[in-house]
């Protein structure tokens, strides 16, 4: 009996001390982590519209069952960009991205947030800088992936066509959504564009 009591007590003591350590560490680290996460997100957004001084989330949108959001970037009172999170189906993962467009809904920039494409193959969408660079200034109708050199449209990375398509499709979906919300008079010409 005494033995049992001793065992229980010792275990409880360990639980209490260990629990205290964990709780203590959690209280120290969780604000740090929270802030870091927030800052990461803000920085990512900021990169999409460096001239803006406030970026605010204004809504949500869906691709399939997944939810994404979009933001307005303002410099002073003036909207300088719309930024949307989006994703495209790639080789082995969904490629998650941020897409920013200017007031004419031309692409300002694309940033890949997260993906699990094959290192060396699919991850060239990040490593090959020209690939994301070529989206700049494109309007919706130009967002078509081609497997040959092109200035007009988007050129696929050879050996990573599928990942390239993931990016293109993700961007296209986001731009289309933004056109629907902000585009006013811009026509969404879907015919003749390969998806």
């Amino acid at each position: 009996m005494k033995e049992m009591l001793k065992i229980t007590l010792s275990l409880v003591a360990i639980f209490v001390v260990a629990g205290m350590i964990m709780v203590g560490v959690f209280y120290v680290t969780s604000p740090v982590r929270f802030k870091a996460e927030k800052k990461e997100k803000e920085e990512a957004l900021k990169k999409m519209a460096p001239e803006a001084d406030v970026i605010t989330e204004v809504g949500k949108w869906n691709i399939g069952r997944k939810h994404y959001d979009y933001h307005e970037a303002k410099s002073g009172r003036r909207i300088v960009a719309y930024i949307a999170t989006t994703a495209g189906k790639g080789y082995s993962s969904y490629v998650k991205m941020l897409v920013s467009v200017d007031r004419d809904i031309r692409v300002k920039g694309v940033q890949v947030l997260d993906h699990a494409e094959t290192p060396g193959l699919g991850d060239q969408i990040i490593e090959e800088e020209w690939f994301l660079e070529q989206f700049k200034g494109k309007e919706f109708s130009q967002l078509a992936l081609l497997k040959k050199p092109t200035k007009e449209n988007i050129q696929a990375i050879s050996g990573a066509t599928i990942s390239s398509r993931a990016v293109t499709n993700g961007v296209k979906d986001a731009v289309q959504m933004l056109i629907e919300r902000y585009g006013g008079g811009i026509k969404v010409a879907t015919h003749g564009v390969k998806k």
């Binding site: 275990l11 360990i14 680290t29 290192p119 060396g120």
Partner: protein
């Protein structure tokens, strides 16, 4: 117990009973996080920390805990230190954590940690236990760095993220396949050195 020098205890973890190459325990991270040196190193640091702290804690409370419940108690202690590591890395080492957070958490299940607590720390005083934990942790770290160097250099032509070759000689080395190759070839190579140079048995005891 015969007096063994601290250095001998320390060295044992590094070479004689290297957790990865010799005891063949905790192999998953040895492959999973070693596509780059940096990740391997940080994983090694995490394990080093956990092992040292676990050994210290277990050694401190060893007289106080009943042998009947020692395994659950050790598990709990390990889980505690892993949680601490996880929280700390989650807050201060964000980019690495994103890539290998899962494996940091999995330290809790590494047989090497529990087995050192059980085999060594539960029977030894504070200082030797700490040294054993450090030796083992460092042995683990060294192994991971070694594998990381091999894979990152061959796979990406870089080390610690710094591009050296400006080409990627053997992409496959950063994929799972390449990780297994690197492990197998390194292990075989080390066995060969052990047999030829040190006249050892050159055998890895395999598995759990």
């Amino acid at each position: 117990m015969k007096k063994v020098s601290y250095w001998a205890i320390f060295k044992n973890g590094l070479f004689g009973e290297n957790p990865v190459f010799r005891l063949a325990l905790s192999l998953c991270p040895a492959v999973a996080v070693t596509s780059g040196v940096k990740n391997g190193f940080l994983m090694g640091v995490a394990v080093f920390f956990v092992m040292t702290m676990v050994n210290v804690t277990v050694s401190l409370i060893r007289s106080f805990i009943s042998p009947k419940v020692r395994i659950p108690a050790y598990m709990f202690i390990i889980a505690t230190w892993v949680t601490v590591t996880d929280l700390v890395m989650g807050a201060y080492a964000r980019d690495v954590y994103k890539e290998m957070g899962l494996y940091i958490m999995l330290i809790v299940a590494f047989a090497i940690v529990l087995s050192r607590a059980e085999v060594f720390a539960s029977k030894n005083k504070l200082i030797p236990s700490m040294i054993d934990g450090m030796g083992m942790g460092l042995g683990f770290l060294l192994a991971l760095v070694l594998i990381g160097i091999t894979r990152e250099f061959l796979g990406k032509g870089s080390l610690w993220g710094y591009d050296i070759l400006h080409t990627r000689p053997l992409l496959i080395m950063v994929l799972p396949t390449g990780g297994f190759f690197a492990m197998g070839l390194l292990m075989g190579f080390l066995n060969w050195i052990d047999r030829k140079v040190f006249g050892g048995t050159g055998a890895s005891s395999g598995g759990h």
